[in-house]
Amino acid sequence: MAARRFQLPGVQELGKQQEDALMLDRDGQHLIIGGPGTGKSVVALLRARRLQRDGDDYVFLVYNRLLLLASRQLFGEALRSDTWIGWFRRTFQRMTGNPTPCRGQPWDIDWPAVERLLLDFTPHSHQNLPHLIIDEGQDMPPAFYRSLVALGFENFYVVADQNQQIEPERHSSRQDIQEALAIAPERVVELRTNYRNRYPIARLAREFYTGDPASPPPALPPVPSGGVDTPILFDYRRDQYRATLGRILTLARNQPHKLIGVIAPTDQVRLDYVAGLRAGDAAAGGMVAVRTYASRADVTGLRFDEGGIMVINAQSCKGLEFDTVFLADIHGHRPGGLDTDLIRKRFYVMTARARDRLILLRARSGDSPVLGILPRDPALLARFPRPPVREL
């Protein structure tokens, strides 16, 4: 498989808003808010590179091990990055001398207990604590930020999109972060313009925006309809399943340097796609690396710095970016039953994972509340096969 690396943006690709965010003072508390495709993660990464170049101590915190792996492979091992939970547990123990209180599982931190312990903690005034750059900051709870302040951390650069939450009950709102870090509203930088996503993908993502004014969607210019990069809804018959997988494999062979993400609604669908893709590839000579990951599984062997196909489920896709995304069997999504708000949030997150190309796959017989949230406008979502024209 061909190598795939993060490419620095060209000077013309980073807009004034992104530069305003990048040029914020080195020290202090900063919150960058932006929707999908506004380039907030790129800004966070460039910020980390600057601190590294200047010899400053920093940590780039990401949500989970998958994102940690992706960031290290794409940006290089030199990036000082960590998962937020693992890093917090070690830091808490080192600074307070106490193990981090947990509720059973090590990743399930008992935040009320943490905050109780920190009531008696006095940070050393002369200690040099690293700058914290926090990606997808909406996914950490408010108590995380409060605890960091109680531990004595002073320099924060948090990028967040309140609408990109898969587990809304464990998130921080914009206001939560502002209050915890004492950031004045006028010091929050809002990224409103699209950065790199193809406009049609960002436009489709906006269809699933649940309308929280605290985290605005990116501004998008009008896009001519019928463009080649318009996201596609591909309805396949059951007997076309293998042929559909064959097309995914053809795409992977034609563009071996691109990473294709297949995002499945359930673990069963994920396993079915992996088996089907591997069988199809083996029959054609085995040229494509088909890899998979399930939540909290071992990440060994996953590659974000090579082309190929990565099959994951919806819970694992947050923060990742693929060149092409297939949303597999979309009729299978049922987060929260029939709550379309939750379905919209999930689709908002999933669609925004695509950089160049987005294709939604649906078995033609499948019925689901998902269908009700898909836009009918072919300029936003092209349908194949094309629906018959109704005679008046």
Partner: protein
């Protein structure tokens, strides 16, 4: 002492304009214009322009002799608190032709430069753009500003800051004219638009051809045509579609022709360059093909309908492999379009190899890719051929001046960079010592086969000994010579067929010019 008047003007000579001129801007605009290879008007910066001296008279570049009014420096950093000032020192040695000047009292004059320079002017107003390669030094107010600029430039893939000397001024002061307000009151200069889209595309074409010139004779000839505007012999390029590049560069748009492929190809190039920025360039291609094919005969129309369908499928959920597509479309024009849909960036095309593709296929694709990305879109890795940036920078600006009808002459452009293929061309007695050493270095770096070692031994008897470490030849006395060399035929076969990364190429060039 009072000198006697010279009634006949003897000893009086026309004032000579200074050889350095100053332009005030800010660091972020500087990064942009270095990436673009041209000092441009505000419109050239897209939506990323921060107000500086270039917006006083849009379309005109204000150049100051010796000192910049302090108001201009302050104006250049007013838009954002994070902006830092800088002053560029330009050396427009070859500049000739009509421009405007602002006299000592702020009066606007037309001037044939340099002949009509009077010596009391406070600024030149030069029609934009000018080559960024004319920047001799970047003046900065403090070591902190220098550090900031170096750091900012590293955030981007395409800012060649390292090509330009930085100078931190003593006493943290720019060469400013204190207290001077600017611009002078009541000066009205008609705004002018600079033609930048075609020069940018042309700049990327030059770069791509410089990289491809080593792959074969057609590429080498096309490169010479693009840089020097002519071929050694008129019939030297027997591909009319590619040969039309010369005419396209002269006109700035597709030349009229009865040749269908040529007309469609250069029509596509024009559409890609002048597309709506919100439009995917592939859509611009498809729209043009659909419109243009309507006027073709039925057979050609059918062929184009199949091509358009294949391209659409390729952009969506493809059902054909690259092998199948190249087999279905054997000519250079459709193959270039297939590549245009298969790959996105110029460096991806340079790395792409497929046994079915011919040299003209790749060259045609290179021109299309260049039209899509432009010089601004090229990463530093594609600009690092020695002499390429300066050669392209002057040619882009000169083309913009010509297309804009300014009659401004920027003087002779630097020579084009020579390809490795040219640099390795053997003389009448074969390779020179430098060429042989460079070939060996490159073959080693690239791990190419074809390296052989010749051991010259004196007359005598030799004993072969086979041991754990291998075979040894044991003899009395010394070896006369050990020569390691590269087989030229194998070397050229690999040179034509293999993409060469920047570092080995750089090492080979250093040896070639040693």
């Amino acid at each position: 002492m009072v000198s006697s008047p010279d009634l006949f003007g003897a000893g009086q000579s026309s004032p000579v304009p200074p050889d350095r001129w100053l332009l005030a801007t800010n660091q972020l605009n500087l990064c942009y214009l270095l990436a673009a290879g041209m000092v441009m008007p505000p419109a050239g910066f897209g939506d990323k322009y921060y107000r500086d001296s270039l917006d006083y008279f849009p379309g005109w570049i204000p150049l100051f002799p010796e000192r910049v009014p302090v108001a201009v420096v302050e104006h250049s950093v007013r838009e954002r608190p994070h902006l830092r000032p800088c002053v560029l020192e330009l050396e427009p040695g070859g500049l000739h032709g009509p421009l405007l000047t602002l006299g000592g009292l702020g009066e606007l004059r037309e001037c044939q430069f340099p002949g009509e320079w009077q010596g009391d002017e406070q600024a030149l107003l030069v029609p934009a753009p000018l080559p960024a390669s004319w920047i001799r030094r970047i003046l900065l107010a403090s070591p902190e500003d220098r550090k900031t600029l170096e750091s900012r430039a590293q955030d981007y893939a395409n800012v060649p800051l390292g090509d330009f000397p930085l100078a931190v001024l003593k006493g943290k002061r720019f060469p400013v004219a204190p207290g001077a307000g600017w611009p002078p009151a009541g000066v009205a200069v008609p705004g002018r638009e600079a033609a930048l889209a075609v020069p940018r595309a042309a700049g990327a074409m030059l770069a791509m051809l410089a990289h491809l010139a080593g792959r074969g004779e057609t590429g080498a000839r096309l490169c010479r045509l693009a840089f020097d505007g002519e071929l050694d012999e008129p019939a030297a390029l027997d591909n009319p579609m590619l040969a039309a590049l010369g005419e396209w560069l002269r006109l700035g748009h597709a030349p009229a022709t009865d040749d269908v492929s040529q007309r469609l190809f250069w029509g596509v190039i024009d559409q890609v360059i002048h597309r709506d920025p919100a439009l995917d360039p592939r859509d611009a291609v498809l729209a043009h093909l659909e419109t243009a094919s309507a006027g073709l005969d039925e057979r050609l129309r059918g062929a184009f309908a199949r091509l358009i369908q294949d391209l659409r499928t390729l952009a969506g959920l493809p059902d054909s492999s690259a092998d199948e597509l190249f087999e279905r479309h054997p000519r250079s024009f459709p193959r270039a379009l297939i590549l245009f849909f298969l790959r996105e960036r110029c460096e991806e095309l340079l790395e792409y190899r497929h046994p079915a593709l011919t040299e003209p296929d790749i060259l045609a694709a290179a021109l299309l890719f260049a039209a899509r990305e432009g010089w601004l879109g090229l990463p530093l890795a594609l600009r690092q051929l020695p002499g390429l940036s300066a050669a392209v920078s002057v040619r882009m600006a000169a083309l913009a001046q010509r297309l804009g009808g300014t009659d401004l002459d920027l003087g002779p452009a630097p020579p084009r960079p020579r390809s490795l293929r040219e640099l390795f061309a053997p003389g009448p007695r074969g390779w020179s010592k430098a060429q042989s050493e460079a070939a060996l270095q490159l073959a080693r770096d690239m791990k190419w086969p074809g390296i052989r070692t010749r051991v010259k031994l004196g007359k005598g008897e030799y004993r072969l000994e086979v041991g754990g470490g291998g075979l040894e030849i044991v003899m009395d006395g010394e070896v006369k010579a050990v020569v390691t060399e590269v087989d030229p035929d194998m070397f050229f076969a690999h040179l034509n067929a293999t993409p060469i990364p920047a570092k080995p190429e750089q090492r080979a060039r250093v040896r070639l010019t040693a």
